[in-house]
């Protein structure tokens, strides 16, 4: 790791993290850093809820054999845990031009990609199938959800790709994804969500109605939240290239208020749709975001109705 200050708790700060070139390595650093601080669970599955018994068949993993049942009834049953259900997870990463802004030395796109890589690493290690969808105003690349050996590397490569980036339009890619009629799974949306919200809520509700599980990470730069500029200048929109003259001293309060309102609106939409919403400023260690994600999944785990026929590893 690069020689940078390590936060208390052993969490790496994003600035130092971003100096690592390889996405895979970044992900590993974050996940390992997280596990150092948390008691590593010896359980292999993410969700350890017991759901049902299954008749033992030759070749099954003996670790999951229910010994009590064997002792009582001399029958071999395999416990089926929730983790054995096939969790299909797609990471939806926004590559639009507005993600190309960054005031801390690295862009929001870098951070979002690293976040997605971290999540991919984590979920993959859990045994979940992970796929990737990158988009700007249309779907750019689509890597289907798998849990095979080289698949994670493929995802990492997909995340490392720098996109030219067009304007942000969340509606079209989400519609596309909805039309793809994927099997129900988890959709993780990583974006700055600088787009009209009515389209967003429509698409999200559509996706929820299809049965998908949704987690939203709103990635934003601290400068975007606090408008930490001092000199008046011509502010240029990264997507439309429009310039307007803004004096931060007079415009800051108004800007922050509107930004907050926007975030609140998204939060409201998310809560209405029972979607996890995580606003993530880019100066926050990724491990924290990952930790929050894990907690939320754990909390929500009981609520999700999942019926599956067989484990597919």
């Amino acid at each position: 790791m690069a020689g940078g200050p390590v936060r208390a708790g052993g969490l790496v700060d994003p600035a130092s993290l971003m100096r690592i070139a390889s996405m895979e390595l970044r992900a590993k650093v974050v996940v390992d850093g997280l596990y150092r601080g948390i008691h590593r669970s010896s359980r292999h599955g993410f969700s350890t809820e017991f759901t049902e018994y299954r008749q033992y068949v030759d070749g099954d993993d003996l670790r999951h054999l229910d010994w009590r049942v064997l002792a009582r009834s001399d029958r071999h049953y395999i416990k089926k845990f929730e983790d054995e259900t096939s969790l299909r997870c797609h990471l939806l990463v926004d590559h639009s031009r507005s993600m190309g802004y960054g005031s801390l030395g690295y862009t929001k796109a870098d951070y979002a990609a690293t976040l997605a890589a971290t999540l991919a690493q984590f979920l993959f290690a859990q045994g979940d199938a992970v796929g990737l969808v990158t988009f700007d105003d249309h779907v750019d690349q689509l890597i289907p959800a798998r849990n095979r050996h080289g698949h994670l590397r493929r995802i990492m490569h997909g995340l490392e790709k720098q996109s030219a980036g067009a304007a942000t339009d969340l509606g079209a890619p989400l519609q596309h994804i909805a039309e793809m009629q994927m099997r129900r799974g988890l959709l993780v949306l990583v974006s700055d969500l600088f787009a009209p919200l009515d389209t967003l809520s429509k698409r999200l509700s559509h996706l929820r109605a299809s049965g998908h599980d949704l987690v939203i990470f709103q990635v934003f730069d601290p400068a975007e939240r606090d408008f930490t500029f001092d000199a008046p200048a011509l502010f240029e929109d990264s997507e439309s290239k429009q310039k307007i003259y803004v004096d931060p001293a007079t415009a800051r309060a108004e800007y922050c208020r509107r930004f907050r309102e926007h975030s609140e609106a998204i939060r409201t939409i998310a809560s209405q749709l029972t979607v996890d919403f995580h606003p993530v400023p880019t100066d926050r260690p990724l491990a924290e975001a990952l930790f929050e994600f894990m907690n939320d999944r754990q909390r929500r785990g009981r609520v999700i109705q999942r019926r599956s026929s067989g484990a597919q590893r």
């Binding site: 975007e224 008046p232 011509l234 930004f259």
Partner: protein
């Protein structure tokens, strides 16, 4: 210091533009890339409370450049630095009007007073020129400068008092053009710094002749005209002039009195005038002339035999143009010879009618001599015209031949066919003359009106020759080189003319006496005779009136014999020109054509005493400076500003300080460009250089410290 165009100082207000731009500059400079503007609203620009210090020198340079440009355009000049030396005080040329109109009462005294005032400053350079129709220098620049300053004014006064107004007309345009030339000649002759130059015109500005001479000349730059106008208490005038006599060949009517024209000024208050002879003979003619118009009236009747010399107009305020000298036009004498055998009082002969036709007129005085056809003792050369009315003897024929070839004019009237025999020898051509058979009468059918003899009859009213019946005529074939003037109605030539030698011969195939034709009794006879008389006599116009001061009205090669006839001291036979005649009167003049009495009178244009308008002078490019208080107030205001601008403009043209100021502005602009270039270099260079400097400084400090510690270590 003052400026030529102070209005340009308003341009200094343009300096506000770079100041404003520098204050507003900040907003346009920085472009801050941002992710999305969806939460941003444009803010209104706010002024920086103070500009950044780095830009202040740039702002100052730009303001300075603008201010210098404004000053340069305003054209400053420094007055008071030029000490006007005595020579630079300028040249003044005084034009003194000595024309006839200046002889009105009181004008000359006024003119002398003006002159005294102008020449009172001996520091200037003054010349005095008198003018009427020509310029007469009285005092040159060199004469003036050659005198000591105390004697200059007196010299000028003395010279001027030696002249008085004459009787000639005035030409102000010519005088001004000539004066401008004199001044420029003096400027080139005396190679000193050009001072203020001006012409002072002392005149009544009587503008009868106009300013034609100024139209072709261009008024020199920087030359001012100062007008001292003299005015009379009675500004209007009536004039008397001669009505030019027509060159009529017709005998005058009974009324031989000359006609004179009386003109009255437009602003005149009087209308009633009288015209009378100067010696009081005869009664006075009353004439009423409305203001602004003229009337022609005949001179009063005189008893015959006492020719008068002058008529006088009474009823007018000013007398200088009220006397008109008159001469009778002396008629030209034309000696005519008639050769024929008929007596002068024989009404059936030719000479009878010829004698009665040749009456003296105003222009012509024919002297008819009648001789026989035999030998002549006297030479024919003194006769201008010879009429042959028969067949001359051989000796006479020889004389006639010699006369014609020497340039004489002969008219041969054939009374019978044998009269033409001697002509065949003269022409060298067989004429075959014979008597024509005429049934009843013949008519002159066709006439060549292009011939000079018949041109007066070209008018349709006079051109009908068919009223003349011809009873008898001769037929002959004219020589081929003859020009036929008229034909009979049967096609035979009636009159023809032939040049012989340097003279000519006119042949008429029928006589004009009643036996032959009705020509002598017709109305066309006398004009015919007179036209031929005029052609033979070679009449030249003999002018009888001379305008004083006008060289062209004098007969060529004139030498006075005496005159004016009224005065006792008549100049002897010295050659004179029109300028020599300075006084009105009758003069006897000997010319090549003979002695002649001419009347010298004042130019009629001089009678128009209305002063010239100053606008006409201004329109011709003359710059009028301080005008008299007596002239229009408008001219005064005009003159004041123009003189001031003239002096100031001249000073500024000499200093040309605007060039230096423009050069300074250029230098400032160049430095502004350099400084702007320095400022616009990227800041990274500056910070990099500053950190490098800081590092070097730190290293230097460290090495110093190290050296110190080493020194202390060594010391200890």
């Amino acid at each position: 210091m003052s400026v030529l165009f102070p209005l340009f100082f308003a341009a200094v207000a343009a300096v506000i533009a770079p100041i404003l731009l520098h204050l507003l500059r900040q907003r346009a400079r920085n472009v801050q890339p941002f992710s999305s503007l969806m939460f941003l609203r444009p803010s209104p620009p706010r002024m920086q409370p103070k500009t950044r210090v780095e830009n202040l020198p740039l702002l100052l340079l730009r303001c300075l450049a603008l201010i210098l440009l404004a000053i340069a355009f305003a054209r400053p000049l420094w007055q008071g630095m030029d000490v006007i030396t005595a020579e630079q005080k300028g040249r003044t040329l005084v034009l003194l009007d000595v024309s006839a109109s200046m002889s009105r009462s009181g004008l000359w005294d006024q003119a002398l007073a003006h002159l005294d005032q102008v020449v009172s400053d001996p520091e200037q350079r003054v010349a005095i020129v008198a003018f009427d129709r020509t310029l007469r220098p009285l005092l040159g620049f060199e004469d003036w400068a050659g005198q000591p300053p105390s004697a200059r004014t007196e010299l000028a006064r003395t010279r001027v008092r030696s002249i008085t107004p004459g009787s000639a007309g005035s030409d102000i345009g010519l005088a001004l053009a000539g004066a401008a030339d004199l001044i420029s000649d003096d400027e080139t002759a005396v190679a000193q710094a050009q001072g203020i130059k001006r012409i002072v015109l002392i005149s009544d500005l009587q503008g009868g002749r106009g300013l034609d001479a100024l139209r072709s000349a261009t008024w020199p730059q920087g030359l001012g005209l100062s007008i001292r106008q003299v005015t009379s208490a009675q500004p209007t005038n009536a004039g008397l002039s001669l009505v030019t006599v027509e060159t009529g060949l017709m005998p005058e009517a009974d009324d031989k009195r000359q006609r004179v024209r009386v003109s009255n000024d437009a602003a005149s208050k009087t209308q009633a005038f009288t015209v009378a002879w100067s010696d009081g003979v005869g009664s006075a003619e009353n004439v009423s002339v409305p203001p602004g118009s003229t009337r022609v009236v005949r001179a009063p009747t005189r008893p015959a035999g006492k020719p008068g010399s002058a008529v006088i107009l009474r009823g007018d305020d000013h007398a200088f143009d009220n006397t008109l000298y008159l001469t009778d036009a002396a008629p030209a004498e034309v000696p005519v010879l008639y050769l024929g055998n008929d007596a002068a009082d024989d009404p059936t002969g030719l000479s009878y009618f010829l004698k009665h036709a040749l009456q003296p007129t105003r222009m012509l005085a024919p002297r008819l001599s009648i001789n026989g056809l035999g030998n002549q003792a006297e030479a024919l050369n003194r006769f201008r015209w010879v009429v042959v009315g028969g067949a001359p003897s051989a000796a006479m024929a020889e004389q006639l031949t010699a006369y014609v070839t020497g340039g004489g004019a002969i008219t041969v009237v054939l009374r019978q066919a044998s009269d033409a025999a001697w002509l065949e020898k003269l022409f060298g051509h067989a004429l075959r003359a014979e008597e024509a058979r005429v049934k009843g009468f013949a008519l002159i059918g066709r006439v060549d009106f292009a011939h000079p003899l018949l041109r007066p009859f070209e008018v349709a009213r006079f051109g009908d020759f068919t009223k003349i019946h011809v009873w008898h005529h001769r037929t002959l074939t004219p020589p081929p080189t003859a020009q036929v003037l008229a034909w009979y109605d049967d096609g035979q030539p009636a009159w023809f003319e032939l040049p012989v030698g340097t003279g000519r011969v006119l042949v008429m195939t029928s006589g004009w006496h009643p036996a032959d034709s009705q020509l002598a009794l017709s109305t066309k006879f006398v004009p015919l005779i007179y036209t031929e008389l005029q052609r033979s006599g070679r009449i030249t116009p003999r002018p009888t009136q001379v305008i004083i001061g006008d060289a062209t009205s004098m007969p060529a090669g004139a030498q006075t014999i005496g005159g004016p006839l009224a005065s006792a001291d008549a100049p002897t036979s010295a050659s004179i020109t029109a300028q020599s005649i300075a006084q009105q009167g009758l003069y006897r003049v000997q010319t090549a054509a003979g002695a002649l009495v001419v009347a010298a009178n004042v130019d009629p244009l001089e009678s128009q005493t209305t002063p010239l308008a100053l606008e006409t002078l201004e329109a011709l490019g003359v710059s009028i400076t301080d005008a008299d208080a007596a002239t229009a107030a408008a001219a005064a205001a005009l003159a004041r500003t123009s003189e001031r601008t003239l002096k100031v403009a001249e000073l500024e043209a000499r200093q040309k300080s605007w060039r230096w100021i423009l050069a300074a502005a250029f230098v400032v602009l160049v430095s502004e460009t350099i400084v702007a270039g320095l400022f616009s270099r990227p800041k990274a260079d500056k910070t990099a250089s500053s950190t490098a400097e800081g590092a070097e400084g730190a290293e230097g400090a460290e090495s110093a410290k190290g050296a110190e510690s080493a020194a202390t270590g060594a010391a200890s």
